[in-house]
């Protein structure tokens, strides 16, 4: 007997959607929950999923079937594409069937922006299907071009070995959305060094995410789930040549044109054509330089995946294309919530928080949206999860640990702030943003051991003026001082 009515439904099998479903299942073990995903489901690898004094749940790593259904028996997973949403009727229409829901959370993420949609030599690398494609192509490549200046581009530039990389960014410093120009300066030397082999034997300190096996069906372009934090793990990202790192960075440029080999050749004189080194594709940058390469990676962000939803429903959409949500993760349409890359946070945020399309925020939003939906069903009050009080993200760039706290680049503070800085070449980069003597944010690169202390100082809102730059003096055990 097919189920068609569900108390809760979630569309999207990425980190936001899966976290939402897990949380719903934990809060309402007796209610029917539906997860619809167009592609493989992201699953969290963990040895412990739920620990109580009596019961302990183990999730073994490589399970062939969909992990969610097995561990959350009240959840039904349908791998199919949503073609329409009739929100007033509380109906979801898919390729294969129709479902009714009580409350819905849309976690459909974003579609990668590709700089040249029709060229087969331009690869978007935002989701699961494209990572596999990338891995195939890099094995035969001697030179690639990476366009984009975000987290994926930054990680990719470092991960790729045995292949020349031209990195074209529109900003004047690398990884602009994550770090400042000073930190960029600090990290750059790593690109001319050999890549450190990953410490496979060291224990991992956080939950790991991967993609659920090979259940992928080619449903359509851009329907893969977004990459989680461990996307490059276990992948062989090596090219043809035997060089560790060979990266050239072009600053302040955008792509003017992408041309396949023949397309480009005919624009040249005969002499130029003879002298030309042959590549499958050529990219002309706005500074006039033309590079030939084996293929181009477009890691230029995403556009929220709202097309299907907007067909028949009047959602309020923000300037960045995301569905507006309030401080309960609700859209303007009754019983429809949104979480992850598809939504735009439209509440008045805490002074030290802001939205950034990261896997960690997708997880936080998915979890909070679930709690919100349940509390509304039960007519209970709910307080916003504390993770929305202060921005916090931990990642790794160029083999350094990077911790970003609060308004780490003084976002939104115009010129009304000052900076404290401590740099030890090759070891650590510590930058603190202060306003009115209070810490608003910090960037910590390297094993600084300061993240917990600074998290507390930001949240305590303590007046630090009396310390001046002594606050960062390495001779003072600052974390002990505020213990």
């Amino acid at each position: 007997m097919m189920e068609h009515e569900f108390k809760y439904a979630v569309i999207g099998g990425g980190i936001a959607g899966v976290t939402c479903v897990e949380q719903l299942s934990a809060l309402c073990p007796d209610d029917k929950i539906l997860l619809i995903t167009a592609s493989s489901v992201v699953k969290a690898i963990t040895n412990i999923s739920k620990v109580t004094s009596i019961l302990e749940d183990f999730c073994v790593v490589e399970k062939p079937s969909v992990y969610i259904s097995e561990n959350c028996p009240n959840v039904t997973v349908k791998q199919t594409r949503v073609t329409n949403l009739q929100a007033q009727k509380h109906k979801i229409i898919t390729d294969e069937d129709e479902y009714e829901y009580g409350k819905l959370c849309v976690c459909m993420g974003g579609t990668p922006n590709i700089i040249s949609k029709n060229c087969s030599y331009v690869l978007g690398i935002r989701d699961t299907e494209s990572v596999q494609e990338f891995q195939k192509r890099i094995a035969n490549a001697q030179r690639i071009m990476i366009i984009g200046n975000g987290g994926i581009a930054t990680e990719l530039v470092y991960e790729v070995e045995d292949c020349e990389v031209i990195w074209a960014i529109k900003d004047k410093s690398i990884s602009k959305s994550f770090i400042d120009a000073g930190a960029a300066e600090f990290l750059l030397p790593q690109l001319s060094q050999d890549k450190q082999s990953s410490t496979g034997s060291a224990p991992t300190k956080r939950r790991k995410y991967t993609i659920d096996g090979n259940k992928f069906r080619d449903i359509g372009h851009g329907t893969g789930t977004a990459l989680g934090p461990d996307w490059s793990e276990g992948l062989l990202l090596k090219g043809l040549d035997k060089i560790s790192h060979n990266v050239k960075i072009e600053y302040n440029v955008e792509v003017e044109a992408v041309m396949e080999k023949d397309e480009y050749r005919i624009t040249l004189t005969d002499a130029e054509q003879d002298a030309l080194s042959v590549w499958p594709v050529y990219v002309k940058l706005t500074n006039g330089t033309v590079y030939g390469c084996d293929f181009v990676v477009s890691a230029t962000g995403v556009t929220p995946n709202t097309e299907t939803l907007l067909k028949n429903n009047k959602f309020e959409v923000a300037e960045d294309g995301g569905l507006k949500v309030n401080d309960k993760m609700q859209t303007n349409i009754l019983d429809v919530y949104a979480a992850g890359d598809i939504c735009s946070a439209f509440w008045n945020p805490s002074p030290t928080w802001f939205q950034m399309r990261l896997w960690s925020q997708a997880r936080q939003m998915g979890s909070y949206a679930a709690k919100s939906m349940v509390s509304h069903t039960r007519n209970q009050d709910i307080l916003m999860d504390f993770c929305f009080e202060m921005f916090a993200h931990v990642t790794r760039f160029f083999n350094y640990k990077v911790v970003l706290l609060g308004r780490y680049n003084a976002q939104g503070l115009s010129t009304n702030y000052e900076l404290l800085l401590r740099v030890t070449k090759g070891k650590e980069y510590v930058k603190v943003v202060l306003k009115g003597g209070q810490m608003q944010g910090a960037i910590l690169i390297g094993e600084t051991d300061l993240e917990e202390t600074f998290e507390n100082l930001i949240l305590n809102k303590m007046d630090l003026s009396r310390y001046g730059e002594d606050l960062l003096d390495p001779n003072i055990d600052i974390e002990d001082y505020f213990d």
């Binding site: 000073g182 931990v394 404290l420 051991d449 002594d470 003072i476 213990d483």
Partner: protein, 506 residues
Amino acid sequence: MVIRTYNEEQQYLEKISSCAWKIKKGFVPNMKVEGVFYANDALEKLMFDELKNSCHSQGFGGFLPGMKQIANVAALPGIIGKSVGLPDVHAGYGFAIGNMAAFDMGDPKAIVSPGGVGFDINCGVRLLRTNLSEKDVSPVKEQLAQSLFDHIPVGVGSKGVIPMTAKDLEEALEMGMDWSLREGYAWAEDKEHCEEYGRMLQADPAKVSMRAKKRGLPQLGTLGAGNHYVEIQVVDEIYNKFAANKMGIEHKGQVCVMIHSGSRGLGHQVATDALVAMEKAMKRDKIEVNDRQLACAHIRSQEGQDYLKGMAGAANYAWVNRTSMTFLTRQAFAKMFHSTPDDLDMHVIYDVSHNIAKVEEHFVEGKQRTLLLHRKGSTRAFPPHHPLIPVDYQLTGQPVLIGGTMGTCSYILTGTERGMLETFGSTCHGAGRALSRAKSRRNLDYTDVLDALAEKGISIRVASPKLVMEEAPQSYKNVTDVVDTCHAAGISEKAIKLRPIAVIKG
């Protein structure tokens, strides 16, 4: 504040024994009692260098030398006995870390100060024993560490694995380890081997603010980062066989697990809230202090009482936290060795707090008095036969757990009668660092970075870079010096030394 030369300052300091110095009244204004600090030769040099630097304006404006902080505490209303600096004393917010100060509950002017407890309320140490040996654990060290990481979330933004609702948190704040026991996360005998039996009865969840609760809710059962850690250790030396046996330690190489953690963001918020409230009330109650960070309130005032009740709630939270991690550690070991925590004899040897305020009975000049003791970076060390320590430790005295900094050795001490008299039953808590200016390097390594970062109208202040270990100044008060000094001073006695073989931290 009077600015004196280093020589002038020294007039107020007098060596009273091979390991103790007196700080006379007048060293800072308004001292009601004298100060005392314990130090061996090495530690003494660090204390005086720190003072000298601050006199010669080589100091760190906002950070006062330990001696001055001890003296400023001696100027607080209602203080009784002496303001005591333990051998690991070093700069802290308000009170120095490693400063014990007692206040007479019978004196209406006596105060309580959150700076005398610390932000990380009930930061403390718990030690579990096992019946495993180093040779059992060494071959599976990495898997065991990974297993612990899987069970115990670490790092900024991590969330607890043990499910917890807002209601659970309220109950945990009120009941401390009794909550854990009820929920099945603790063994009954764990409580016996914990200060206050893991629950401060005066706790009142209503005195813990909503913001503090919000900070605490996702963090329960997590380790955080920084100087908190879980360490797998082995017994390296046994100095007192009788005491060791009472603790269940039979031989060198025996494996133990040390958990060093506190009340996380919840404690921080409780302390912050109290400091704000008390600063406001000080004018009203005409309380004057030498340092703004010594914000305080009369013990019997609304602010004072609110703080003590909130502090007790935060303390309970920390015990629940250490208990949750005990539970998770037991699970991890049991799984690893295909056994049960019971069969592995994973009992709690003891659990001590080193950031807390306690109401205790002590003898002062022959008379019994009720005192409010602030122990910040200082551990309770009750002697044999004290009624508040468990039955099995009545003959040995209370075990005192001293965690070195992560990666260095740790100790177990026992309390003494002499400590009871001299320091109201308090001893050190670990290691520390004296303030010291390294010879500044003409280091222009960072100009590229500075240029890149420069922006109009934004002031950038630069601190010197972190020196490599070998170049770092010897400003470190290592735990062995500290513990040896306590032993020499007779305020606690060495029983066991432990060394780490694996560390779990954020």
